[in-house]
């Protein structure tokens, strides 16, 4: 590894792998290393023995769980918004070619002690128990307003400017009930807590629009999930990077980031030092350059079957809005199963997660665990959500953010774009890889 590179990337999480791929396409010489012997870092999907190694200190997996290779257990619970940024990055880079996706079967919300489906069609909306008849009419007016509102076109504003009007004023204007506000803010706009109410409404409008357009793209739910688990995503971008000349080293401990005159000049592993002018890494490779912004608890649960009251679906998102359980942060449950090639056919996987508010985080996820039915086994982690202290332009060491508590990849993509801009000085403009497309056509004999 004693060579000169443009960029050394440490950690093979999704953020790092996307950047590695994008920079390799642009002709940068990239060395990408990971201390683990598997891809994905914090966003990996693990087989049973890797899972037990990580959570049970090397204990052998319980025998009746099935075959090791049938399992790809995600460490973080996230889905892809069908119309979101990650899908755009995947299609523009052609990484879709390496992956298969399935729609998540349903999105649910917890309300007054019951689980209700988030309506996916107009018919479901009409029948939904989530709102009374008159409230449905008011909500309809609200959604029509959101859908026609264009910031650049004042004729759509009806006298309110969403760039300055706080969201709670908009709710008040449409006279929506507290339960409806909970539903819109948490199940559609996917806010984790209620601070958005006092912020300008435009942000929430954009989130609602993303949810609606994602739902409209394929029907059923706004979420997509890659077969074999989320860990396939970093692997796909790593392959993209490798195809454009990126060098990959797994199972490679990193001992030191080497500086000269306050700027990074290389990375040392044992007696070898690879030279570079820029470093990109996840927070675990630069603990002195990050600070903690929150703590998250995640409980990976192995189940015997689909969770009760979700129509027996093979995959779902269930949101418990904070107000429903007297909290400040929502509790999320993400469920996937054998039809996504993430566990054997006799099991289901669910991850219950939330932002920690108290000294007893295990207690905080109880309302979520209580909805799962019998739990075969449970792997709990409490992690710090970290962000870089500096933007990296001074020493050219660019640290990504931890994967946060949101249920999708939008904030990951924001971080990718932000890092890209700081690293290259340019905005990320996604270009379709036309040459590849043309080559495929030629190969297909067209």
């Amino acid at each position: 590894m004693d060579e000169q590179y443009d960029v050394i990337v440490m950690g093979t999480g999704l953020t790092e792998c996307i950047l590695s791929g994008l920079l390799s396409i642009e002709g940068k010489k990239v060395l990408h290393m990971d201390r683990n012997d598997y891809y994905g870092g914090e966003s990996a999907s693990l087989n049973l023995s890797q899972l037990f190694k990580k959570f049970r200190d090397g204990e052998a997996p319980t025998a009746n769980l099935g075959k090791d290779r049938d399992y790809n257990v995600d460490l973080i619970p996230k889905f892809m918004m069908a119309n979101g940024e990650l899908v755009k990055i995947l299609t523009h880079t052609d990484v879709t070619r390496y992956l298969e996706f399935k729609l998540v079967a349903g999105s649910y919300v917890y309300r007054e002690g019951k689980i209700a489906k988030v309506p996916a069609t107009e018919m479901e909306a009409v029948r939904s128990p989530l709102m009374g008849l008159f409230e449905k009419r008011r909500a309809k007016k609200f959604f029509e307003y959101v859908q026609t509102y264009r910031q650049e076109d004042p004729t759509t504003h009806q006298g309110m400017d969403m760039a300055i009007t706080p969201m709670d004023a908009v709710y008040k204007h449409f006279a929506l009930e507290a339960g409806t506000i909970d539903f819109i803010g948490h199940a559609l706009a996917l806010h984790l807590e209620d601070s958005y109410l006092s912020r300008p409404a435009l942000e929430t409008f954009e989130r609602i629009t993303l949810y609606m357009s994602s739902m409209a793209r394929w029907g059923k739910s706004p979420y997509l999930y890659p077969l074999y688990g989320l860990g396939e995503l970093p692997q796909g971008f790593a392959r993209l990077s490798a195809i454009y000349g990126g060098t990959y080293m797994l199972d490679k401990p990193v001992d030191e980031i080497v500086y000269e005159d306050g700027k990074v000049v290389g990375v040392r592993s044992g007696s070898e030092t690879a030279k570079c002018t820029q470093v990109i890494c996840d927070p675990s490779y630069a603990p002195d350059k990050v600070h903690k912004v929150a703590r998250v608890i995640r409980a990976i649960c192995l189940l015997r079957g689909p969770i009760p009251n979700t129509d027996g679906v093979d995959s779902f998102q269930l949101i418990i809005p904070q107000n429903q359980v007297q909290r400040q942060n929502d509790i999320y449950i993400a469920g996937v199963s054998a039809s996504h090639n993430v566990c054997d056919k006799d099991h289901y996987l669910a991850i219950v997660s939330t932002v920690i508010e108290t000294e007893n985080p295990q207690q905080e996820i109880e309302p979520g665990l209580a909805l799962l039915g019998p739990i075969v086994d449970k792997f709990v982690s409490i992690v710090d959500i970290c962000e870089p202290v500096h933007n990296g332009t001074k020493d050219q060491v660019f640290v990504s953010k931890s994967y946060d508590a949101t249920s999708h990849f939008e904030t990951v993509c924001d971080d990718v774009k932000d890092l890209y801009k700081r690293i290259t000085g340019n905005d990320l403009v996604l270009k379709q890889r036309l040459t590849q497309e043309e080559e495929q056509k030629e190969m297909a004999g067209q």
């Binding site: 598997y38 298969e100 996706f101 029907g219 080559e439």
Partner: protein, 215 residues
């Protein structure tokens, strides 16, 4: 490297049933994995070819008979094998594999054997594996005898060819015999499970409400 010329080998119009398979290449660095593919797909050879840049995978079709066409989607390692960093995604759902060694490097056969073991452990149990002893044009520098490799291939149940990407010797034969060995009659559906990209899921490149999941 010019890459725009049309391949001179098979360019059949698919007739009858089209079977699509994922084929992965494995083997030590510099044994000629990419060169074999380049010869097969584009009928080209480049003496000073370095590692593969820019190709996600290449495709090539073989007409077995009037009613049967086999399309290979050929995945290259893209150099990720060099530091033992090949992603599990690489051989996931692979229907067939070409494990390549260099007849002038005896260590490359050992490496090939370990790849075969890895495939038998990780990949689909029905995977068809072919062993290719490449660089057969360099017979003066040969260190791996044909009989030795043949004996190993027979014992492990592999197809075996000595090939030369440079002279094109046995390259088409290698891929054609893989196509013939694919269990086509067991596959009632011409796009069997896991062989067509996005065959089971949602195609992100298509912007419609159509949902391809068959469950």
């Amino acid at each position: 490297m010019s890459n725009s010329r049309q391949g001179a080998t098979q360019q059949p119009q698919p007739a009858g049933k089209l079977f699509q398979f994922k084929l992965v290449l494995l083997g030590e660095s510099a044994v000629g994995k990419s060169s074999l593919v380049l010869r097969f797909v584009k009928d080209q050879f480049d003496d000073f070819r370095e590692s593969t840049i820019g190709a996600a995978f290449l495709t090539q079709t073989i007409c077995l008979d009037d009613a049967t066409t086999v399309k290979f989607e050929i995945w290259d390692t893209a150099g990720q094998e060099r530091y033992k960093s090949l992603a599990p995604m690489y051989y996931r759902n692979a229907n067939c594999a070409v494990v390549v060694y260099d007849i002038t490097q005896s260590s490359s056969l050992d490496k090939a054997k370990s790849w075969v073991k890895e495939l038998q452990r990780q990949a689909d149990p029905n995977i068809v594996i072919a062993l290719a002893g490449n660089k057969s044009d360099l017979s003066a520098r040969r260190v791996v005898e044909t009989e030795e490799a043949q004996a190993y291939a027979d014992e492990a149940g592999l197809l075996f060819f000595e090939t030369s990407a440079k002279t094109a010797t046995n390259v088409n034969e290698l891929f054609t015999s893989i196509a013939k060995k694919m269990p086509l009659d067991m596959l009632a559906n011409p796009r069997p499970r896991g062989t067509g990209l996005n065959a089971r899921g949602v195609d992100l490149n298509r912007d419609s409400k159509e949902v391809g999941c068959a469950c």
